[in-house]
């Protein structure tokens, strides 16, 4: 069974009529890193939000099966509990909610769903400190409110920290490279690469080929006007980098 199977998915903004996803088909296998590239407005972020369950979007048709189960009717927290993780393009600042409180709530919610006891505080602190160190996240950042006062790069690293703690089945990285300098990009890519495993899949959404130098994809999909119009190997990303989207998009249209 495929890890993720999206069949003929159509979706729009809840408040507008214009369809953004227009019959999107996509399969991600276990152990696979699938890159999704596409021009502005092609529906990349919409796809990530629709999969994560954001309320502003309305699914008008099709299905998305995670491990064979359609997740589109589930609340966002239930999808997360099933092992879906979205690394946000713009991680949100939550003033007043401490980073550690937030991480602990997320870990414990997952443990409860899996019938486990809540994590003991010393174990939790050890776990967070270990992962944070690998990602260059300081103690000071852990003491602050979630993402408050973090630089763009720090926010992205914080997303990867959450992913590392929650160990999802399927991680969607929505333009995780945007706003990152090369050093931060390497740290983030190392964090992702460390989590690659035969049981886990990644959907890496990006504009640029550069990220894929660090996170090597198994397969590259091109998204345009809400549909996958071309699928290939890593060389497809290089081709796009050299020629731009216009050529491929033109042929598909």
């Amino acid at each position: 069974m495929s890890l993720l199977e999206i069949k003929n998915l159509t979706a729009k903004l809840a408040e507008e009529d214009k369809q953004i996803l227009n019959g999107l088909n996509l399969t991600v296998e276990k152990g696979q890193v699938a890159a999704i590239m596409g021009p502005n407005g092609s529906g990349k972020s919409t796809l990530s939000y629709v999969l994560a369950g954001r309320e502003d979007y309305e699914v008008t048709g099709g299905e998305a099966l995670l491990d064979g189960e359609n997740i589109l009717e589930l609340d966002p927290d239930e999808r997360a509990a099933k092992g879906l993780f979205l690394a946000f393009q713009y991680p949100i600042e939550i003033p007043g909610v401490g980073q550690m409180t937030f991480l602990k709530a997320a870990i414990n919610a997952q443990r409860r769903k899996n019938g486990l006891d809540e994590i003991a505080t010393p174990e939790f602190i050890k776990l967070v400190n270990g992962r944070a160190k690998e990602l260059g996240i300081s103690q000071d950042m852990l003491r602050r409110s979630v993402n408050v006062g973090f630089s763009g790069g720090e926010k992205k690293r914080n997303e990867i920290l959450q992913m590392a703690l929650l160990q999802p089945k399927l991680a969607i990285l929505d333009e995780t490279d945007s706003g990152l300098d090369i050093d931060a990009l390497k740290i983030v890519a190392d964090g992702v690469n460390a989590m690659r495993s035969p049981d886990r899949g990644f959907v890496v959404i990006t504009h640029y080929q550069r990220l894929l130098d660090y996170i090597k994809p198994d397969v590259v999909h091109v998204l345009s006007a809400g549909r996958i119009i071309k699928t290939g190997g890593p060389e497809l990303a290089l081709e796009l980098e050299a020629k731009g989207y216009a050529d491929i998009v033109g042929k598909a249209a």
């Binding site: 994560a52 369950g53 954001r54 309320e55 502003d56 609340d75 966002p76 927290d77 999808r79 997360a80 509990a81 993780f85 979205l86 946000f88 991680p91 949100i92 939550i94 003033p95 007043g96 909610v97 409180t101 937030f102 709530a105 997320a106 919610a109 997952q110 769903k113 409110s145 959450q162 929650l166």
Partner: protein
Amino acid sequence: MNAITPIRTPAEQALIGAFGALRDTGPAGAALEGLRIDGFSRFEASGLPHRRVEEWKYTDLRAMMREAKPLAGAPDASALLAAKVAVGRLPRVGGSRIVMVDGFHAPDLADGGSLPEGVTVSGLAEAMARRPDVAALLAGQPATRGNTAFALNNAFLTDGLLIEVAPGTEVGHALDLVSITSDGAPRLVTARVVVVVGAGASAGIVETHVGPAGVDYQKNVVMQVVVRDGATFEHGRRQIEGDQALHLSTLEATVGAEAHFDSLTLTTGAAVSRSQLFVRFAGEHSDVTLRGVTMLKGRQHADTALVTDHAVPNCQSRETFKHILDGEAHGVFQGKIIVQPIAQKTDGRMMSQTIMLAEGPSMDNKPELEIFADDVACAHGCTCGELDADLMFYLKARGIPHKEAEALLVEAFAREAIEDFGGGPLAVVEELREAMLASVTEWMRART
């Protein structure tokens, strides 16, 4: 023109009758009797306030107080025993605990060791008979005197507490003042506490108001505070009355020069409550911070009414009030800042923020700025809305269930009013902050 004979409601008639009975059988003592007569005549002239009285526009007491309960008498032995058990269940927040039962001091229920050095607690009637200076402490500021809840407190005043902190004393732990109403037939409780923080002293009091669930008792409580020059007073207040109670509270503070007054109120209890704060700057270069967190559900009604009077120049006032409303609850915030003509360089800021957890609640906000000086900075703001959908999505996308995500955000919202409370020398303040945050968490958890 013909004289108009006001139509008395049953509650007003009962209050008038109760005053007559108290006059005939109550404790003598010219001092308190003078206050009682003055308070009663003010009440008799005005009656219970209703929606056409501007200060009571959103809390129509005449409609909400259908009947007046019989006056509570001094608790008997079994009431004291029951109170002792109930008070024992409340974790102490602070140092020495002082207990009032049905408005009467219950010295046998004191806990947490003897009073700190420099702190004295006396009976109000006794102190008033003995000392000529006490009457002035009870008289009230002009704005307070014209208030009906205050007038009624005076009308039924038989005793109370005078808490004094000697000049220059630093009291490390706040006093833990528990004011409990007995179970049983509902009664009208009148409680009065006067606090004097001497020059250069620092002290704190945490009041907790508690009573039985399912009993529609009525409580009218007044605390009058004088913060002398150079003194610091930190005041915490937990209104966790029983769910059927009517709770009227008046906090009056007179703040001297170079003094600090910080007050934080948590309101979760009572069916109908009104919390009045009258603060007057009497000396320059002082600062006052008033904060509150009110959490209401079901059909609860709570009104917070502030009057901050900048009567002298160069003082700073900050007001931060947060409402969290669920069910069909009704919250009210009325904040008046008066800047007198001579009060140049006044710096006043007031903020009222509300989170609606459901479609049903309503909130009324009424800021009033009366500025008569021309070199001042005064600002007020008000927000009212649901929890931010983007924040909710982010939390839920990490697997945190809806209710828990709401609780995290509400705690963060409440924390803004709570977290920098105090800041003075009191060790207890952190304990109080934690206790209040825990109450916020507990309240959110108890939502169904």
